[in-house]
Point group: C2
Chain length 540, copies 2
């Protein structure tokens, strides 16, 4: 058989030749912008030719700091198709971390949305590798800025070559892009995506048994293009000639509902908080979102009630998925098997609320305390992945050795797998409580506590214990009206009967707030530090 490299230019070529009339719709500062794949491909080639003129060579890193719009989509293909590396920068990171990753990646050029200029201006003197700044704007003129040398994207493109030719000798294992993932401690860690990895991941997204992205779809990626390539949607959409609806800067739930209804979106992808917001808007309006054939939801666990709301109240299939920056990201997708069709709605929901089945194309093992866990939905272990769209290291980072062991990615996520192969995420490795040689899932306990009407937030943490190694303690924030009105025992009673006795926390501490990370996750490390000596001082 022939051996033809699995590289990105073939995706663009397919779109521009077979689907030149298909539309890309982009919400910009100045309103809705529409054009076709024919025009998209021309502008993408123009951008590549301009980057070439600005000195970008094969393997060079080009950073983007931008929202989900058509210009960012042009950069998505212009940079990797010429053999350079697309570095999408998470604009929600702290300035310190943004500065770190630009320098760590060694970005040669930065492509920046107009409204994000101030972030970069504040650190320009500390960005020695950056040779030029390109400003994305709807206008040819750009705002006054101290950035230098600085160019207008639209002005540059006018001089670009719409027939720029892409190299046909790219190595399929060469880097295509990169994305940094925030670490619990220290600086973000960089993940490199290869052409081969993105190619196969895109193919997986087109499988009926994964996300089924196709020419007939109108795709709305709510998940940011600066976050794991918007879960790979832009790559797959271009390849299959899907219509794309890009929601632009900081879309609100109301804007999303309007876009879905007006543009007849068939697939929308985002994290649970997005869909919580959208559900609220839908309760208050009578917007018609029946064009949706699927909501894809990942990033963190979707509450069962959310899935139920969309499936049963709004009639929209809600597909729970799992992945991470290191897995490109799609690894698990919760789809029912054909013989599940006869189950009750509640039984179906039990399955749909798990993270799901391994998608075709990668391998998984779940490592418990003594090797692979039993497929019983009970035994917990760490999810490990292997495959062509799984990272094999962090970019130039000593922390690689902790996560990449024996050819497998060790995710740090703890889960179970049932007899049908459905995985349920139970905890992060570092948050799991190890008590008397057994593991206790803090996520399960927290979810049950948070279902109590008085509880606003609950975090369960493991505290060093002289006899049991660790014991769980629940830290609870009560809702405003309930402060000082709820007893510890009442909350612990909620857990009785639902969990093994030894799972029940030894104590409930009422706090004013739970410390959080920059992206809003519980910072359990801080709580553990605070309570480290709990048992030293206790009577036990």
């Amino acid at each position: 058989m022939m051996q033809v490299p699995l590289t990105l230019p073939s995706f663009l070529f397919r779109a521009e030749t077979l689907f030149p009339k298909k539309e890309i719709i982009s919400r910009t500062k100045h309103g809705m912008f529409r054009y076709t794949y024919r025009e998209y491909a021309k502008r993408t080639r123009q951008l590549s030719s301009i980057l070439r003129k600005l000195g970008v060579k094969r393997g060079d890193h080009v950073g983007t700091l931008a929202w989900n719009d058509h210009r960012h989509l042009e950069a998505y293909f212009a940079i990797p198709c010429m053999g350079a590396v697309l570095h999408t920068i998470n604009l929600r990171l702290s300035r310190e971390h943004i500065r770190y990753i630009i320098n760590h990646a060694g970005d040669k050029i930065l492509i920046i949305d107009e409204d994000l200029i101030p972030i970069i201006e504040s650190m320009q003197s500390e960005l020695p590798t950056v040779d030029a700044y390109i400003i994305l704007s709807d206008l040819d003129t750009i705002p006054a800025t101290t950035l230098h040398p600085v160019y207008s994207y639209e002005a540059l493109l006018k001089e670009g070559d719409p027939d720029f030719l892409y190299p046909d000798d790219l190595d399929e294992n060469a880097p295509l892009g990169m994305c940094y993932t925030s670490a619990t401690t220290g600086n973000p860690k960089g993940v490199i995506y290869s052409h081969r990895g993105i190619y196969l991941h895109s193919m997986c997204l087109g499988l009926v048994d994964s996300c089924g992205i196709s020419e007939t779809d109108s795709i709305l990626p709510v998940v940011p293009m600066f976050h794991v390539n918007a879960w790979g949607m832009p790559f797959a959409s271009v390849w299959f000639g899907a219509r794309q609806v890009l929601p632009g800067p900081a879309p609100t739930p109301t804007i999303l509902v309007e876009l879905i209804a007006r543009e007849h979106v068939t697939v929308a992808a985002g994290v649970p908080t997005v869909w919580l917001g959208v559900a609220q808007v839908l309760e208050q309006t009578n917007a018609d979102i029946s064009s949706l054939r699927a909501i894809l939801c990942g990033g963190s666990a979707a509450p069962r009630a959310l899935i139920e709301t969309f499936e049963q109240k709004f009639g929209i299939p809600f597909i729970h998925a799992y992945g991470m920056t290191e897995t490109t990201p799609v690894a698990l997708v919760s789809r029912l098997k054909s013989y599940h069709q006869t189950l009750t709605d509640s039984q179906k929901l039990d399955i749909r609320s798990k993270q799901g089945l391994l998608v075709p194309g990668i391998e998984m093992k779940i490592l418990g305390k003594s090797g692979a866990v039993k497929w019983d939905g009970q035994e917990m272990g760490e999810l490990c992945f292997r495959g062509n769209w799984i990272a094999d290291a962090y970019y130039q980072d000593d922390r690689s050795q902790d996560a990449f062991v024996d050819g497998w990615l060790h995710t740090g996520d703890i889960g179970t797998i049932d007899e049908e192969g459905y995985v349920k995420i139970m905890d992060r490795t570092k948050d799991l409580v190890k008590s008397g040689g057994e593991w206790i899932s803090t996520v399960e306990l927290e979810n049950t506590l948070m279902a109590h009407p008085a509880v606003f937030e609950a975090a369960v943490i493991g505290i060093p214990h002289p006899k049991w190694q660790e014991r769980p303690i629940a830290c609870v924030v009560l809702k405003e009206g309930f402060k000082n009105k709820v007893e510890k025992l009442e909350l612990l009673n909620v857990l009785q009967g639902k969990f093994a006795k030894w799972w029940i926390p030894d104590d409930v501490l009422f706090l004013e707030e739970i410390p959080k990370t920059s992206v809003g996750k519980f910072l359990k490390r801080a709580l553990r530090d605070q309570l480290r000596q709990y048992y030293d001082n206790s009577a036990e």
Copy 2:
């Protein structure tokens, strides 16, 4: 990113772990046989262990001469997963050609269906590379045979190891299987399929925009497993955990209709003659085949009327596709684009009756007389393909240099491509008439002639001409009742107005029959030889 070889054992592993309860249904001599992927995988591993004991090593060729049933499906995975090469032998070839390809492939073991033993017995003394014969039978005992050494498949399997482990270091570019394609002249030519090629082709079969094979399907491959791996259906079906319905030895249209209705088949794949037969049965019965979500049809061009019958009369989506042994085979699939939904039924049929759009994952060019043809649906050129499931040579065959040029497969098929990218096959290169520097499609002329009520068969051929290089002559066989009752002029009038003047054949010759190849195609070469001196004797 990790680089994990794209090899077949991962398909089997996915089926046995995620879909152990899913069924394989197999029509055998002794009735319907049913088992699950759990049992299938065990028996497949047993077969591999037995082949290992019989001396099969990595890279060895193992031949199968068998119908579409569960045992053949076991061989489909047992042989390649252990690193050996699955050589599926076309049982419809002449004995001479079967002998040739077994020797040319150097098959070490032959796995033979009970009823096909006589074919091999007749040539056993001429098969020096074959070390052993394994007979597929529903029974442990096998019929008396002169083959030696000979084993019963079922008896052997009882001694096999159901936990046999497959190597995890197979090279993705190593051969997985092979299939011989009949040549117009001389011996059949062998095509080697690599693990990488089959892996990517299988992934393509699962794409919504290709065939969309998924877990929810019940797949009926009517196309023989000895012919281009039943278009790759068995590989994709195992990977995605699709239910398989295997039609067994020599299925008739009536048997197929019964299987579709009783087993609720969702996808059936076969050549046009199969569906012509099925359509006849459906006219006469009231069988319910509404479970079908798609009929896949390829191998030769499906008549427009056939597509129309299935789509409009029976309400079954009929998907026209194109491929050949050298393309694994799926290369073109005729699916409407989303914006075609507003067309009339007749306009849709115009598109659906073309061979279709290039599937994601491979490249195509159509080479006319001066480079790539225009996308106008008019200019004709030779279809050329490039990609990971396209052969790069014939196995140890000097004829490779004719078909594989500059890294592209030159198919010998002549077609047009319209502005939307839909390809229509017009002729074989060697059958095309070259008249006055222009090309004339004989297929188009023949189809129009055969639509005349008096015409049974029509073959148009190019005859050397002193002035025009070649001119078309029509050879026509009239239906019984019409012999000697139809004038040449009446038939030529059918063509007037529908084609350019210079396309109209110079003459119509009435024959008793059109000479045919072993697989029933017109043997135009014989006609051309017969008529070579037509213009030498003519007045012109």
